[in-house]
Amino acid sequence: MTGINWKIGGPAGYGIMVTGKIFAKTCMRHGWPVFCYTEYPSVIRGGHNTYQVHAEAEAVSSQKSQIDVLVALDEVTILEHAGEVTAGGVIIYDPETTKVKDKRPQVQYMELPMRQLSKEICGSDFMKNTVALGAGLALYQADRQIVEAVIHESFDAKDAEVIQQNIKAAKRGYEFTENSKFNIQNSKLEKRFMGLNRILITGNEAVGCGALAAGCKFYAAYPMTPATSILHFMAKNERDYDLVVKQAEDEIAVINMAIGASFTGVRSMCATSGGGFALMNETLGFAAIAETPLVIVESQRTGPATGLPTWTGQAELLYAIHASHGEFLRVVIAPGDANEAYQSTIHAFNLADKYQIPVIILADKYLSESPRSVTEFSAKDAVIDRGAMITQAELDKIKDFKRYQFTPTGVSPRSIPGQRGGLYQANSDDHDEYGYTTEDADIRKKMMDKRAAKLSFLIKDLPEPKIYGDLRAQKTIICWGSTKMTAVEALKDLKNTRVVHLQYMFPFPTEFFNRHIKAKNSLIVEGNQTAQLRQLIRQQTGLNIEKTLLKYDGRPFYPEEIVKAVNNL
């Protein structure tokens, strides 16, 4: 095994997340690409939390199923994760609080008096996680100055005492390891040249950055895991970036507010998970029939119903494509990593404006909440295309403005409230070119055809699926959304294999499939029970790909699972 594979586990409320983040940032500051994976239950206190960090000297895109250091803040962590530790690896625990019954022969068990050391520093066991953090980083011979700098920045600057105590706690842990016999073979965290600035960011935060870069000025949401951190990100940036962020009474209000703001000319976005998206379905078609641009983020968790609220899944692909009554055009984008989440969010706003349609960004818990290192985003080259918005000067020249004018592209000029001569009705009833309700059969059909006409132009604006690995490889892994991260990681251990990743799911890239994909030697990997991508491919191309690797236990794929499945092709 290469690189660094570290995991900390313990009860919720023990600072697992902050400790993990400090560990990950420390690796990143050494110039190492990092991927983090977190697990937590749907409770605030007492549930079992883990934070796993995988860092590699060259490139990394997912967690691994095995680790070389396990920090156990309780017995549950030993029971659940000791088996993941590789031969030669280390388990760090505190014998005062954690009993270990059956020790594995090839694993090193480091008895670290976390509680005692913490008490000596702050009078309570509050900093045992930081003691353990220091001990773990010492195993990888991390640069102590970098460790201290990251700790310094990770706590509230106003509380200098807490910062100093944490630095001290890490130091004590670090020294404990240095003075011990414990070590990890071949995993020194050497400083590497990083080049461009890197950031450690989750998919949700990347979506938030994309929205800011695109000039999103209104964001509405109702809290729902795993989409909630977009709300947190947007809310804290509300004043710096001059936008209005609204936590509304329910997701029905959320989507209606987003449409109201968009109707008024403001770029707007809302986000939720499957359950909230179900409430939004009522109104999704309103955005479509009124041709009001809208960006919706749907971060999937494990359904149906409440399901596994804090776990991942990819079971809403067909749902996102078909949600809401009636027939209308929409775009469904499933970014594969934080970078794509950032870029495609900007693109989503442009597509929504250009074609005056709803655009759905389909994420999942795995993408939304897994921090990874990426090159720092810059909004400097972000293109903003507001489409056919009409100016006052243009309106002044028009006697008879028709908001829903029949055009060859299906896209009509759009006015906004306050403009003279641009009056119209954004109507949930089907309507004529002015927006007035009509049930006339000819106009209804023409209006449906006008809205549908956008498809042939839209499809040219959608990037094709990307191929990773050897383009001419014999075997093909086909995946969509966040599974790309694991599939690309798996490529490291595969020969004669390529990954085809779909990000722009709908309208479907039929042309690409006809050109590049054969059923033979192809494997579809996706996080659901009914192979929804396989269904979609068959529906859209006629191609029947038989081999699938499916997972619907709430957990993401691990590269080892994909490697095994490909080798069995």
Partner: protein
């Protein structure tokens, strides 16, 4: 078109209204337009949101920027429209007792407590008219309709009391049979800085044979004729529950409080829709991720 030339015709579309002959929606349609004329608000300076119901077919008859949303959803778009452009002269949300106090009642409560600067007009005819006559959330107990042939078993929602309980800063009642009085309330409601709720007794001449024009005429009286002062929530609460043969109309309650928008520093001057897009510097937002 200058202010002094405005007439109620300026707010009319070419679409011929489809309300039943004698429908009280016509009166409200006139009253709203009279109010806009008097306030000198031009059609492009006002946004109406409607939902679905007989009242909201008005979306086709009013000239202005119109957001004709789904049943019960007139309020959330109206709130966001106000945030997106607080310089618009008026935002008026229009709904009925079915959408407003049935499927959309949650939005109503939250809009009240948010004090968004808009006027919400509810056409309260105590019946579902567009679906040809079912019991509504404001139908009286015992009400016989197609959906309750043996009598309505539920107590009705009291819209004005609900608005008061939800901390609306301006609560009034009007009657479609009192046109000038109604237009005056609409003017006040538009001018009120904050959330104004105007519930209008609006007899349905086709399906509600109980709560008719005559029925209301026998019962309504004007609060201002009694020397009533609308500044005490407790008093307003008591008035809103007055029922034994007497139905007060007029302004029940009014208080000045900061609007939602006024509490947002980012909307102190520029409207959201006027904010410059592009050339965003992400440095600040990214600081925590370095």
């Amino acid at each position: 078109m200058s202010e002094n030339q405005l007439t109620i015709k300026d707010y009319e579309t070419p679409v011929c209204p489809t309300w039943c002959p004698g429908c009280s929606n016509y009166s409200i349609w006139v009253a709203v337009r009279q109010a806009l004329v008097k306030l000198g608000i031009q059609p492009h300076e006002v946004v109406f949101t409607f939902d679905i119901g007989c009242n909201s077919n008005g979306a086709n008859f009013y000239q202005g920027y119109i957001c004709h949303a789904l049943h019960g959803r007139a309020l959330p778009p109206a709130e966001a429209i106000r945030w997106a452009n607080h310089k618009l002269k008026a935002v008026i949300a229009v709904g009925g007792d079915g959408g407003g106090f049935g499927i959309g009642v949650g939005h109503f409560i939250h809009a009240c407590r948010r004090n968004v600067d808009l006027l919400y007009i509810t056409h309260d005819n105590q019946i579902y008219g567009l679906t040809t006559g079912q019991t509504s959330p404001t139908s009286p107990k015992g009400f016989i309709s197609k959906s309750t042939p043996f009598g309505n078993l539920e107590e009705p929602v009291n819209p004005s009391a609900l608005a008061l309980a939800s901390r609306a800063t301006w609560v009034a009642r009007g009657f479609a049979g009192e046109l000038n009085h109604l237009a005056d309330l609409i003017i006040k409601g538009i001018k009120h800085p904050g959330f104004a709720h105007l519930n209008i007794f609006q007899p349905c001449v086709t399906f509600n044979k109980v709560n008719t024009f005559e029925w209301f005429r026998e019962r309504v009286y004007k609060l201002e004729d009694t020397g009533y002062q609308p500044h005490d929530r407790q008093l307003a609460w008591e008035k809103s529950w007055e029922m034994n043969g007497q139905l007060p109309i007029g302004l029940l309650y009014e208080i000045t409080a900061p609007t939602y928008r006024e509490q947002l520093p980012q909307l102190a001057t520029e409207a959201l829709v006027e904010k410059k897009l592009g050339e965003i510097d992400l440095t600040r937002a990214l600081a925590e991720f370095r």
